[in-house]
Symmetry: C2
């Protein structure tokens, strides 16, 4: 079983997830009422709408720029990534536009990634993360993938909690309703 | 913000999620390498493949049969639902077939649900759950929806953990890697 003997996914396996995320999120969220799309877990937590804005910002300034930074042999740390940029930028775009923007940026970034024809030696090249220290290109690309899945899980959890009262006694069986906020 | 003042989603709002789940899961999982689709969180936990089998079983014997049971005014409890039936049934079907089966059953079930033209009074009708006692039709339909989201979150979490080692020091930022197993 894969999870019991973890081995690192290959680059092709990472790309297989990265290229599927936009369509999966679009199928889930496109045209969905604000009851779900604008819901949060309370306080400073994010709605599905906010999460898509965050994913777009990552496509623009985080993943491929950092990959290029490593491949250019830069010794200065990566520029810090603003995790809340989406809360103040592009707030007037409808969700359907954000979903298309995300899909389009992801497609361009994966085309650029594939075009790099990375070797095993390239994947072992390192960069300096401003907080975490030395990281490899392979770790950056795995993080890009797991980050997608983390936010897909967050969207599912946030939406599930909209129905927390409505399920009545079944709440006992639905573990997601008891999960952390973030 | 919806999550801070929870109100019960309308039937239309529930259906809006229920009708999107199959396409979202197909976009995520169709053609995905077994590295992801067959991964578990270890022990008796389920792979994405297992989860789709479980969702199919629910379409067949759980949600609409229980809705009809309530509307028929049955006083005996619902038949218990076997939560692990998918671990012993249909294990030879490829994932792509399971995804199509799920989509097809869901479409039929939502057509049947819409055809019932449920009134507010219908939604307040009750049935007897074998463990939870009295539940309403509205609660059953909300549970159907939250159950989808619970399993979408489970799939995201299970897949994320495949990359747990590969992300290196970034694991500190990816909360999903520390989340419960189930």
């Amino acid at each position: 079983m894969a999870a019991m003997t973890p081995s690192n996914p290959s680059l092709d396996e990472l790309v297989a997830v990265l290229e599927r995320t936009p369509a999966s999120l679009a199928a889930l969220l496109e045209g969905l009422p604000d009851t779900w799309a604008a819901a949060t877990e309370g306080g400073q937590t994010w709605s599905p709408y906010d999460v898509i804005g965050h994913l777009i910002h990552g496509e623009r300034v985080n993943w491929m720029p950092r990959a290029r930074h490593i491949l250019a042999g830069e010794t200065r740390p990566f520029d810090p990534f603003d995790r809340t940029a989406q809360l103040t930028q592009g707030r007037d775009e409808p969700l359907s536009v954000l979903l298309r923007t995300f899909a389009s940026l992801r497609r361009e970034n994966l085309a650029a990634l594939t075009g790099l024809k990375l070797t095993k030696a390239d994947l072992e090249r390192t960069g300096q993360h401003p907080e975490l220290g030395t990281v490899t290109l392979a770790q950056l690309l795995a993080t890009w993938t797991v980050h997608d899945l983390d936010h897909l899980g967050q969207i599912a959890r946030t939406m599930a909690k909209v129905g927390a009262q409505a399920v009545g006694p079944w709440a006992n069986y639905l573990s997601i309703l008891k999960d952390r906020q973030r």
